[in-house]
């Protein structure tokens, strides 16, 4: 075999008649935004994106989000300082690596159960080939390959997620089972599981039709549709209260299935819920228009009072049962309901001080465990921050 042969093959391949591509870059951007939003809801990224009715969102790509000037005093703290900025109960936090049972340059912890005992994440090349990893008391186990994109884990180590084909799954007692897709719908998106094993998600079908669905971890082939068409479920509390959306409005259903809209902040046309735990929920409202894009602003609901507040941060990635917010403005920050905040510390062996070196994706119910990753030398490594009061 000669090099000339190879050159000849190369020339033939370069000049071979191929059909005209029918590929749409605009569609890729639109679909990609939608997927980023879903992933964000699922906790894998912290990008402020929401595709709304006739509104193009601001997509934050390539650089860390810029904190608004109003919160500079809180955000100006050193990115790696483990300190409470107020006289609130002193909390000390420590970052430690999570073990990686398999290779992969993108290894990220995404979610933690309310107790901090179970952590789920992804390890892969960042190339849609990630395997779901479940860390139990710090020990890693890899889920079967057909479990992709974990969305949540509960206090009993039950993991739920949605594979790349829009099929929901539940991993329980070492077994993977798939969730029924309701008839008339083509795909589901699974978002949450409560301590009883009730699973919440959204089924979607032709023409953007969608509806909120509940399953049970014990009987994954059974399901219950919630609300009517146009509904969606994002979170489910331990008593079975579902939080999600109905058309363009944030919504809540009682365990009996009675629905009511959640408040939208004055002056805003709509709002969406991203996640909820206990009596708290967080989400976003469309803020200032920038050209033909809109900057999405984070909000927090107190579900027991129904009050909604705009948050003075670029985005919120999670909320604990204590009302503590996980904020990622280039470095992880936990903000208590009274406004005091603590930066999560880094690891001494990580030298990069760039914004975005550390990402925090999930927070436990007591706000004492935060999970995420550190990015350096073109690789992400999974991290857990454990704090003590």
């Amino acid at each position: 075999m000669t090099t000339l042969d190879e050159e000849r093959i190369a020339a033939l391949l370069r000049s071979a008649q191929v059909p005209e591509p029918r590929v749409d870059v605009g569609r890729a951007v639109r679909d990609g935004r939608r997927r980023r939003q879903r992933r964000r809801v699922g906790g894998a990224t912290a990008v402020t994106v929401l595709v709304g009715l006739g509104v193009v969102s601001v997509v934050e790509l390539g650089r860390p989000p810029t904190p608004p000037a109003a919160v500079t005093p809180i955000l100006a703290a050193s990115p790696t300082a483990a300190a409470s900025t107020a006289a609130a109960p002193p909390v000390t936090c420590e970052a430690s690596w999570l073990p990686q049972p398999i290779g992969g340059s993108v290894a990220v912890a995404n979610r933690v159960d309310p107790t901090g005992r179970y952590i789920v994440g992804d390890i892969g090349t960042g190339n849609e080939d990630g395997r779901v990893v479940l860390w139990t008391d710090g020990r890693a186990g890899v889920l079967p390959a057909s479990a992709r994109h974990a969305a949540a884990v509960n206090a009993r180590g039950v993991v739920v997620g949605t594979d790349g084909g829009g099929r929901g799954w539940v991993y329980r007692n070492g077994k993977l089972r798939f969730l029924a897709t309701p008839p008339g719908y083509q795909a589901v998106l699974v978002h949450a599981v409560n301590s009883r094993g009730d699973i919440a998600g959204t089924a979607s079908g032709a023409g953007e039709s969608h509806q909120a669905v509940l399953w049970s971890a014990e009987r994954p082939q059974e399901f219950r549709l919630i609300g009517r068409q146009g509904s969606g479920a994002i979170a489910i509390s331990d008593d079975g209260t579902v939080v999600g959306s109905m058309d363009q409005l944030p919504y809540r259903w009682t365990p009996e299935g009675t629905g009511a809209a959640l408040a939208v902040p004055d002056g805003y046309p709509r709002a969406s819920v991203d996640s909820a735990y206990g009596e708290w929920a967080i989400g976003m409202v469309p803020g200032d228009r920038k050209g033909n894009a809109v900057q999405m602003l984070p909000v927090r609901w107190n579900l027991s009072t129904g009050a909604v507040t705009l948050l003075p941060f670029p985005s919120a990635s999670g909320i604990a049962g204590t009302g503590d917010l996980l904020v990622d403005d280039g470095a992880p920050l936990v903000v208590a309901p009274d406004g005091t905040s603590r930066r999560l510390p880094g690891r001494p062996e990580v030298h990069s001080t760039d914004a975005g070196t550390y990402t925090a994706n999930g927070i436990s119910g007591d706000a004492l465990t935060v999970v995420g990753a550190a990015y350096e030398n073109e690789a992400y490594r999974p991290l857990v921050w454990r704090c003590r009061r």
Binding site: M1, T2, L4, D5, E6, R8, I9, A10, L12, L13, R14, S15, A16, Q17, V18, P19, P21, R22, V23, D24, V25, R27, A28, V29, D31, G32, R33, R35, R36, R39, V47, V58, V59, E60, L61, G62, R63, V106, T125, G126, N127, E128, D129, G164, G165, G291, A293, E378
Partner: protein, 171 residues
Amino acid sequence: MADAEGEFVEYVSARLPSLHRTAFLMCGDAHLADDVVQQTITALYVNWRRVSRVDNVDAYVHRMLVHKLVDEKRLSWAKVRLLGSMPEPRRPPAPPDDELAERDSVVSALAHLPRGQRTVLVLRFLCDLSLADTAAAMGCSEGNVKSQTARALVAVRQVLGVSEMSGRSTR
């Protein structure tokens, strides 16, 4: 933030013809090539912030493309099993008497190769990936790439006609 999106659109627009050619030559199916490229650039958009930071973006994108193709193939194999039989269409070999015919015949030559062999040929000789990058893209060893390449070249030479190839090579 608009810059990164502009950067993405610029990159993809420039690479689209070559990505599509790559996908088509790997799978031999125009619709599948469209689908796979569309999926690849969508995934690329989602991961752009991360991907645009890697050293060799092209190699990375090729890897995504190969994975998407394998996924799609798996899916269609699953469908075949589900629906009974669905034989792959065979392309008639083109008469090898002028250059245009030869260009087409490389497509039909590829159609006769197993997937791994056509993937190595396309990645190594069309995309100009190194041995290591090809192995990484296909998720196999470099030795495996070498042996697949050797077998693929033998097969292609047979289809295209040994005499013609070596005649051109020594000219």
